[in-house]
Symmetry: C2
Subunit: 126 residues, 2 copies
């Protein structure tokens, strides 16, 4: 593994994440870029960008992998994860900048947690 080069593919992928602040699933991204980048490349780039701390990923309630642009993460503290939200009506997924505390659990050492909050987003509530 080495440095990420500024290729057209990288720009195209990052550009999708900059359009708005929502998360994008791998499949969705593959589809969006289908005519521009080969799907193999898309998958490889997502992995690489995640490795590099430019994106982070998490799983939704269906086991689908979503990627989002890291605002909070950096390469070093990449696993300092935050909760995510998925709207049960429209399906959009985004990051929550709130802290949810996991209590101590007897006989276990809690290292990390993954929290997906489900509900209705602001647009769907109207």
């Amino acid at each position: 593994m080495g440095v990420i080069r500024k290729t057209q593919s990288v720009s195209l992928v990052l550009n999708e994440f900059e359009k708005n602040s929502k998360a994008i699933s791998a499949i969705e991204l593959v589809k969006r870029l289908d005519d521009k980048i080969n799907k193999t490349t898309v998958y490889r780039l997502l992995d690489k960008l995640e490795d590099d701390g430019l994106l982070h990923y998490f799983l939704d309630s269906n086991g689908v992998k979503w990627f989002a642009k890291c605002k909070i993460c950096s390469k070093s503290k990449h696993h300092d994860v935050h909760p995510h939200f998925q709207c049960t009506d429209c399906g959009i997924v985004d990051c929550l900048e709130i802290k949810i505390t996991i209590p101590e659990i007897p006989n276990r050492k809690v290292v990390n947690s993954q929290i997906l909050v489900l509900g209705q987003c602001d647009l769907c509530l109207q």
Copy 2:
């Protein structure tokens, strides 16, 4: 959809969940019963048992679907979910009977949440 019949397959599947209280992934169960039940049947049974409230499922940090015998759930309040724990050393997964509170989030209606706690289990801590 109809009533679950007490077939040998149903017994074999439920039996696996009664051996201990840990969760089992779909794939793992398919492998364990490979010589006894066809994989299609295993998948279909897991779905059906989940529908019926005898099992519940959740996803681990890799998007793998795990099933566990419902102690807490019933058919009616099947989605009154609890957190789950996965050991990062040995991989076992089980249910946590603790309550983690999700705070109110502005402009959204929180309906549900899925929480996976990662860490080391009692056996791996020794």
